[in-house]
């Protein structure tokens, strides 16, 4: 584990753990210690981790609802405008406003727009794509995508002090603690 010269700017410090359970414990400890600019990294989603870190659940659900409603109404407006207002044509003696036939498309567009908002919303909120990230400077961090678990505290945290923080993290018996050069 190499030591970065202190004058170099630092992104933060991360501590590596072997198992989910250790991670959970560590996460809650970090939270109790009052760190706010924290994050945890795991090779798969871990239930309750976010609460352990004292963070809130995502609100993306409401965006998706919005998307769905937009789809619903745009579908209706589109069909009503084209077949009743803009160019009314007598199709097989059926009423111009044949609302029952609108349902399939209204449903489909609802789903489509919801899905778009969901996926692209998630990507955007996660600040992706982000191919360069300071964390990738740490060689050990590669394991985060395989079998290792990390807790990280950013230098921008008000309570952050390189040595104290490192010491604190060491106290959680991690596999190791690494500085993340910015």
């Amino acid at each position: 584990m190499h030591k970065a010269p202190p004058e170099n700017p630092i992104y933060g410090v991360i501590a590596e753990f072997k198992t989910v359970d250790e991670l959970m414990v560590a996460a809650s400890k970090v939270n109790q210690a009052g760190y706010t600019k924290t994050d945890a990294f795991s090779p798969f989603p871990v239930e309750g981790l976010i609460e352990a870190l004292g963070k809130h659940h995502s609100k993306i659900g409401f965006m998706i609802l919005g998307g769905g409603i937009t789809g619903l109404f745009s579908a209706f407006v589109m069909m009503y405008y084209t077949s009743v207002i803009d160019y009314p044509i007598n199709i097989g003696g059926r009423p111009l406003f044949s609302w029952p036939t609108y349902f399939p498309i209204m449903f489909e567009l609802t789903v489509l727009l919801s899905v778009f908002t969901a996926v692209f919303g998630m990507i955007a909120l996660n600040g992706l794509p982000r191919h360069y990230h300071p964390l990738f400077n740490v060689p050990e961090f590669l394991r985060a995508s395989k079998d290792s678990f990390f807790v990280g505290i950013e230098s921008s945290d008000p309570k952050f002090d390189l040595n104290q923080t490192k010491a604190f993290l060491q106290s959680l018996q991690p596999r190791g603690v690494h500085e993340v050069p910015a």
Binding site: Y87, P88, I89, N90, L96, P129, R130, H131, Y132, F136, N137, V138, P139, F141, L142
Partner: protein, 222 residues
């Protein structure tokens, strides 16, 4: 050093995405632009003609009525492009040896027909009938524009289906008294402005219909 990508990668990624989206938008916009452009519609583009016939001179200047040459416009689907004889009626005497009119004279001698380049045309699956429009007070100007100001004939309307529909949906704006249809600079007087032109021409007013008969497919397509 385990970074796969440099710092610039992030901006590059966002840039790529926005460029792709932008190009898509431009592509669509372009398609519309081209289809609406005079390159495709040929609106206001002049065409070389065997004889540079000037409507401006004959209609605007001499005040010859449209129907003098386009004889069948009131009775038939096609307005009719005049035979050489019609030209010669006058040009036997006046400008009898103008070099510009040589093709006419030749045609008159040889009996060969003259090939004009068509300017205003609708596709072959559209059955436009001049007489129906003329007799219901739709002026030549509505589709052909102010020919009295055209030194060379040109298109003034796209003649796309959309153009036809606009008028078929609401004819009011384009209706005149029948006797004024060929009048190039006619202006509605007050009392005409007030009048319900549809009733005047016995065109069934739209209010009677949820579907206006004039927008039926069979009106133009057979």
């Amino acid at each position: 050093m385990s970074q796969l990508f440099g710092r610039s990668a992030n901006t590059l990624a966002l840039l790529t995405i926005s460029v792709v989206l932008l190009l898509g938008g431009i592509g669509v916009g372009l398609a519309y632009a081209i289809q609406g452009s005079s390159y495709v519609t040929e609106v206001n583009t002049f065409k070389a003609q065997p004889v540079p016939f000037s409507h401006q001179h004959h209609v605007g200047g001499l005040g010859i009525d449209c129907r003098y040459c386009h004889t069948s416009v009131e009775t038939s689907a096609v307005a009719g492009v005049p035979p050489v004889d019609t030209c010669m009626n006058c040009h036997k005497m006046m400008w009898a040896d103008a070099p510009m009119l040589k093709p006419i004279r030749d045609a008159h001698k040889t009996g060969e027909a003259i090939e004009w380049n068509q300017v205003n045309k609708v596709p072959e699956f559209v059955y436009f009938n001049h007489s129906a429009h003329i007799n219901k007070g739709v002026s030549c100007v509505s589709c052909h524009g102010q020919v009295n100001e055209m030194p060379l004939m040109r298109k003034t309307q796209t003649l796309y289906m959309g153009f036809c529909l606009d008028c078929h949906r609401n004819p009011q704006a384009n209706l005149r008294p029948v006797e004024a249809v060929t009048d190039m600079d006619w202006h509605p007087d007050e009392e005409w402005k007030k009048k319900d032109k549809l009733v005047h021409h016995g065109i069934h007013p739209k209010k009677n219909f949820e579907v206006h008969q004039l927008t039926n497919c069979s009106m133009c397509h057979r």
